[in-house]
């Protein structure tokens, strides 16, 4: 995308490039383009663009229980939504979750990647083991962790028994249920984050560390003053991916807490689903969906900016 967008600015160059490569707008290309692009455009149009516009449209109306639009209210639904205490608390819960998941995922991913980047015999075994959660889907993660969190037979409860500690109600207390979802999400994220960060750390030129070693610089100082700055573009990339994924979380919440207890984990996508498919409040659900879209679009744009930089460098 970015190579072409840089040539945009300089039209003469673009023309030259075109002539050099022998590209011309011709009728044949138009025929091929319709065949090559047709199927994708049809699918994206039907299942991405049409539903987005439709959702935006519904969000500006009142709807009946059949999902039909009744009265045009403009931005009325948005005004109502952002002044509703339950929506505000839902947004707060979502943001808390996203922030906690992102910080913990990045911090632990960095710790693992930094450890596994050492040149030690047998290190590749640890690299494989640390990336293992990439193969875990939401339902498997939920089943493993539900068994650990279970208050009567769970592993945490058993451990409390061994050490005579009070049993923590992981799933019935609002604050703890949030942590249960955060812990499970971070665990699932770790494999992917670890692999990406390890790749970045490995590509930092060795000579930088060798020079630091000669100067007698401590490894902690090297980590914060060489590794972190050198991999900062990748850190940024992984952070935006983690943030986007966390905002879209649904499966783990549905499986572990169902948004409860007392809405403590009732996050944005779970609300969208419940308001539409349980309460039949399609206008409210669509309004929430548009708010989600704005958030996701913002972070995706940030990511595109990152890609743009990487391509130009």
């Amino acid at each position: 995308m970015l190579k072409t967008s840089t040539t945009d600015v300089v039209p003469e160059k673009k023309v030259q490039a075109k002539q050099r490569q022998g590209f011309k707008l011709n009728a044949k290309d138009k025929y091929y383009a319709s065949i090559f692009l047709g199927p994708s455009l049809l699918i994206l149009g039907l299942f991405v663009f049409y539903p987005m516009i439709k959702t935006l449209y519904i969000s500006m109306f009142l709807t009946n229980t059949l999902g039909n639009t009744t009265v045009f209210v403009g931005l009325g639904n948005y005004v109502k939504l952002i002044s509703a205490p339950d929506f505000i608390s839902s947004m707060m819960v979502t943001i808390l979750y996203v922030v906690a998941v992102t910080i913990l995922t990045i911090a632990l991913g960095l710790l693992l990647a930094n450890l596994a980047s050492q040149k030690l015999p047998g290190i590749s075994i640890f690299r494989t083991l640390y990336s293992v959660t990439m193969g875990v889907s939401v339902s498997v993660a939920a089943i493993f962790w539900l068994f650990i969190f279970n208050p009567s037979t769970g592993f945490f409860a058993l451990m409390s028994g061994w050490f005579n500690l009070p049993v923590v109600n992981w799933l019935t207390s609002p604050a703890n249920a949030m942590w249960a979802v955060i812990i499970t999400t971070v665990w699932m994220n770790l494999g992917f984050t670890f692999l990406i960060l390890l790749g970045a750390i490995e590509s930092v030129p060795r000579t930088l560390y060798e020079a630091a070693d000669v100067e007698g610089v401590s490894s902690r100082y090297q980590f914060f003053h060489i590794t972190i700055p050198m991999i900062s573009p990748t850190l940024f990339f992984v952070s935006t991916i983690t943030i986007i994924g966390a905002f879209k979380s649904f499966g783990l919440i549905d499986l572990i807490t169902k948004g409860g207890p007392t809405n403590a984990t009732n996050m944005l996508v779970y609300r969208i689903y419940k308001d539409a498919f349980y309460s039949g409040n399609y206008a409210k659900s669509s309004t929430e969906a548009i708010i989600l879209t704005v958030i996701i679009a913002f972070f995706t744009l940030l990511q595109f900016k990152f890609l743009e930089k990487k391509v130009n460098y």
Binding site: I43, I58, L129, W145, S152, T293, I296
Partner: protein, 276 residues
């Protein structure tokens, strides 16, 4: 000198202790779950995790008493079809953006980029209505048709196709290959690694779908494994933990094997995606 060696050895020992401790913490949920899958539920319910009544009974009952094989078969079919469809349609659209020149090319490409910013989760209401009006609810097609192509896949392959040497195009023009032949015989084989990466990515993507299949399928004929596990869990009147852990193990072990085998591709593919 001796001192230096000693501290170096100590540092190594400390590194290994930390590496092993972290591996244990990360793998603990697997170990606990898979260990429980070999124990009778009665013992698990009593909190007797060190029971010696180890057996494959939970696996036998998962396979014989639950539709888990049906769920697995449904998921494999849906994920495989989705994967091949995305490989074909994404590579075709990527080809158009790289090797063809046509009107509104920039505009159409921007549309693809915009698509990447729109979360599917925000579009479930109209999409549900569309699938319902097509009469495809509770059908494999409901889980496949919306994902026949992907803007991300197109973008990724386009980045890769742009690296195809111009000489290949010139040579094939001289040979008189048309676009279909050039696409099929030259571009696809040349970009094999990116194709494999996208294949793995789209297969896992389909395999891990949760919200959409939950909305559009409601019988064992089309239910996929992610929702199937939830179904098993909620159907049990008292939680048959042993069997549920066994079901989770049955699902996770093949994906982990695939990952280990394909790790090399994944790693290079993901870093490519991150860097390009």
């Amino acid at each position: 000198m001796a001192n230096f060696d000693e501290s170096a050895i100590l540092k190594r020992v400390f590194s290994y202790i930390l590496l092993i401790a972290l591996a244990v913490v990360i793998l603990a949920p697997f170990f606990i779950g898979i260990w429980a899958s070999f124990l009778p539920t009665m013992d698990i319910a009593k909190g007797d995790l060190f029971s010696t009544n180890v057996s494959f009974n939970n696996y036998v009952s998962a396979f014989t008493k639950t539709p888990i094989l049906r769920y697995l078969a449904n998921t494999v079919v849906i994920a495989t079809v989705t994967m091949f469809a995305q490989l074909i349609f994404c590579s075709m659209s990527a080809y158009a953006f790289v090797f063809l020149k046509f009107k509104y090319q920039k505009t159409i490409f921007s549309l693809f980029l915009i698509t990447m910013m729109l979360p599917f989760e925000a579009e479930i209401i109209p999409n549900f209505a569309t699938i319902k009006s097509m009469g495809l609810l509770d059908n494999y097609a409901a889980l496949i048709i919306p994902f026949l192509t992907s803007a991300f896949g197109t973008f990724m392959l386009r980045q890769s196709f742009m690296q195809t040497p111009a000489e290949l195009k010139e040579a094939s023009d001289i040979e008189g290959l048309n676009h279909f032949q050039f696409y099929w015989h030259i571009v696809l084989p040349y970009n094999k690694i990116s194709m494999i990466t996208l294949g793995a990515y789209s297969f896992l993507g389909a395999w891990n779908q949760y919200l959409w299949p939950m909305l559009t399928t409601f019988s064992n004929n089309s239910r996929v494994i992610q929702n199937g596990l939830k179904q098993l869990q909620s159907e049990e009147t008292f939680n048959d933990w042993g069997m549920i852990q066994a079901s989770a193990a049955i699902i996770v072990i093949p994906t982990i094997i695939v990952l280990f085998v394909g790790q090399h591709y994944f790693k290079s593919g993901m870093n490519e995606g991150a860097v390009k």
